[in-house]
């Protein structure tokens, strides 16, 4: 059972999406696990063949419990003896597997699902996995009604809303209490002139169709990701009494959920994505947060969190760090404010950016450098839009 959040102690297996004997590749969704924050698709981290499913759907097991046994590529069936107290990850093959002499028959691709275009779109909207849908008709073609029925059938398994909201509240309470109990926060704030980036964005969006337009937060995300590279010490985790930097910037985006509560799933590799990719990822993430279908890697991977409450009319937000992360960056409302510039008072679009950071991992000096780097990056919006290269920030 993977840890799908720092505060997760146990999870309930909702369903398997694999069968014994099936080949899997790193990144495949193999199971759905119910957590306090909703149903999460669990991905697998190794290639191999499924040997045995140990936990049955409906069982609740602690984090770290063995869910299934996996045979590494080339390993003989039965080598991973069932019943052993296996570690959370599959037993690796003792030595690199020899390449089989005989060319194995390549696995035939699963037959293409026969489904009407309208039903396929509805399934995507409702988050229904087509592999779980049984068409009613003899011809085996999935229709809208089949999808609606599958979505209906899935509902009783999901927790009741009231109950679910209460559990999410409990999860947030646990994580935030742990944060304030253990993490010595320090807070910094600075005003950034975002006139250049907002002007650039307005011009850029004029060239785009409505569906391709960028939200103001997107260039900010990019600038945050680049600034995290420029000034180390904020992107990563505090584990075992030390700071462990993250290899890439997986930017946790604090997203409010309908009906209350929030989650902060990751936009992976935010430092190396361009603005269009970030916009697409953000839109996708928000849709899935509201649809309740996040992937396990998105829940567990964020290396830092960004919270933007500007749209709610708040000028300054001081965040509470989500452990074991070491920093949370806050963006407030963009307002036109009077600024002195070369002896004149001029109106500029200003944004208050804040940093709440873990004093065990960093000091105020580097925190100030980070906010200064962020401010500098936001003066060069063209550069933000051009680069997918994390080395710009110097």
């Amino acid at each position: 059972m993977p840890s799908l959040g720092a505060d997760m102690e146990a999870g309930t297996l909702v369903e398997w999406q694999i069968q014994p004997g099936q080949e899997v590749k790193r990144g495949h969704v193999v199971a759905v696990v119910e957590t306090q924050k909703g149903a999460v698709d669990v991905e697998i981290w190794d290639d191999g063949t499924v040997e045995q499913l140990i936990v049955q759907p409906g069982q609740k097991v602690p984090v770290g419990a063995v869910l299934a046994l996996l045979r590494a590529p080339g390993e003989a069936p039965g080598a991973a003896a069932p019943g052993v107290t296996a570690p959370a990850t599959p037993v690796p093959a003792p030595a690199p597997a020899p390449i089989p002499a005989a060319v194995a028959v390549p696995p035939t691709a699963a037959p293409r699902v026969k489904i009407s275009p309208s039903a396929r779109r509805l399934a995507a909207e409702l988050g229904v996995d087509l592999a779980t849908v049984q068409p009613a008709a003899a011809d085996g073609i999935i229709t809208r009604e089949d999808i609606e029925r599958a979505a209906q059938a899935r509902k009783p398994a999901a927790p009741q809303p009231a109950d679910w909201h209460a559990r999410m509240r409990t999860a947030i309470a646990a994580a935030m209490s742990k944060s304030k109990r253990e993490i010595p926060h320090y807070y910094l704030a600075t005003e950034i002139d975002v006139t250049p980036v907002m002007t650039w964005l307005a011009q850029e969006n004029l060239k785009r169709g409505v569906s391709e337009r960028l939200l103001a937060v997107v260039p900010m995300m990019k600038a945050v990701a680049l600034a995290l590279h420029a000034v180390p010490g904020f992107n990563g985790f505090w584990v075992d009494g030390g700071f462990k930097p993250g290899a890439a910037v997986h930017l946790g985006m604090a997203i409010a959920m309908r009906g209350g509560g929030l989650v902060a799933p990751a936009i992976h590799d935010a430092d190396s994505k361009n603005l269009d990719q970030l916009m697409a990822d953000l839109r996708d993430l928000i849709n899935r947060v509201r649809g309740g279908r996040l992937k396990s890697s998105e829940m567990s991977d964020p290396t830092v969190t960004l919270t933007s409450l500007g749209e709610q009319g708040v000028e300054t937000v001081y965040g509470v760090i989500y452990p074991p992360q070491v920093a949370i960056i806050g963006l407030g409302k963009i307002t036109e404010r009077p600024q002195a510039e070369q002896g004149q008072i001029v109106a500029r679009k200003m944004l208050t950016a804040t940093l709440a950071a873990d004093h065990r991992a960093s000091d105020g000096h580097s925190g100030a450098l980070f906010l200064a780097a962020l401010g500098r990056l936001l003066q060069q919006p063209e550069q933000l839009s051009k680069t997918t290269d994390q080395k710009l920030s110097q």
């Binding site: 009407s116 275009p117 309208s118 039903a119 396929r120 779109r121 009613a136 008709a137 003899a138 011809d139 229709t143 809208r144 009604e145």
Partner: protein, 333 residues
């Protein structure tokens, strides 16, 4: 409170004649010409008694030469008149196809907009009267292929009464196709019935399960099929296209977005046809709305037969429309 204008019982033929009479009376530039429109009163008796009322100058019998009298109509339109040309059947209009396509449809474009052809051509179309393969085809879909023309297909008394006036106001050529089986259609027509739009398709019956798209002579059969389907629990929406060019895509797509299924009913043939064009547009504009392949009920791909039982078998009929709709709605019935 004013009482609603009284409705009168009348026919499609009579509604067309009312429209012609009104057009002739209100605009001296309007005149009617064609084969037997005068002394004989029209092959389908649409212009009966008009010769006596309006005289030979304005109700003109022509020789049996479609190319000549359609060309004369184009010339009159160029010179500022508002001619209405009647062609006996769509099969014969092929003799005038050169005039219609190479002159009427193109002169505005070829003159850089200097000339327009405000011409209305009326003709009978469709089978079902045992008139065999030279008088029974539905070729309006061919004309709908041609840029520069507007194609209208009145299928109700209101449209028979109201489309002509709007067509005469169009500065470009309008072809009006009257399915010959409709001339005896009887019904109530409001006393104040007048001009109607010729831009939009009409939803003739609302429904949620399948969209039946049709026009002209097939509208009645399609409405009958919808009634049969309703008795079996299938709610069919019936769209009367009214205008085949330009097609009202928005109405069609909006309906399919609601029902997710469509059947096209057209007396034309399938190959390279209007029905094929509508299917193509549904692919282009409503692919993600579809919950089943789009179906068609069209005429068999033969010259329309003379023998009654063969002709009935060749043309779209109510049972075939019901069957196609049930197949598309399919398994849930």
């Amino acid at each position: 409170m004013n009482a609603a204008p009284a409705a009168t019982r009348t026919t499609y033929r009579e509604a067309l004649r009312m429209a012609l009479r009104e057009a002739l009376a209100r605009d001296p530039r309007v005149f009617l010409m064609g084969e037997d429109v005068g002394r004989y009163g029209g092959t389908y008796a649409v212009s009966k008694d008009l010769l006596e009322e309006f005289g030979e100058e304005r109700i003109r019998d022509t020789p049996l030469s479609e190319s000549a009298f359609v060309g004369a109509g184009i010339g009159a339109a160029l010179a500022g008149m508002r001619p209405i040309v009647e062609i006996m059947t769509v099969n014969f209009s092929l003799l005038a196809l050169d005039q219609i396509m190479n002159n009427a449809a193109t002169l505005r474009h070829m003159s850089g907009g200097q000339f327009s052809i405000p011409l209305v051509i009326r003709m009978a179309t469709g089978g079902g009267r045992q008139l065999a393969a030279q008088h029974s085809h539905s070729l309006e879909g061919w004309y709908a292929h041609i840029p520069g023309l507007r194609i209208v297909t009145p299928a109700t008394l209101e449209d028979a009464r109201g489309m002509l006036r709007t067509a005469l106001e169009d500065p470009d050529p309008v072809l009006m196709f009257e399915n010959a089986l409709l001339y005896n259609l009887e019904g109530e027509l409001a006393a104040d019935a007048g001009a109607v739009d010729i831009d939009r398709a009409a939803v003739r019956r609302g429904g949620s399960d399948v969209t039946l798209i049709t026009y002209g002579g097939s509208l009645g059969k399609t409405l009958q099929a919808a009634e049969t389907l309703a008795q079996e629990g299938i709610q069919a929406e019936v769209i009367d296209l009214r205008t085949l060019r330009p097609l009202d895509d928005a109405t069609i797509v909006a309906s399919v977005a609601k029902t997710h299924r469509a059947v096209i009913v057209d007396e034309g043939w399938k190959s390279g046809s209007l029905a094929a064009e509508i299917m193509a547009r549904l692919m282009e504009q409503a692919f993600y709305e579809l919950d089943a392949p789009v179906a068609r009920v069209c005429s068999a791909e033969v010259p329309v037969p003379y023998a009654k039982h063969l002709e009935d078998a060749a043309l779209p009929q109510v049972p075939a429309i019901v069957e196609a709709a049930k197949k598309v709605v399919g398994r849930r019935v």
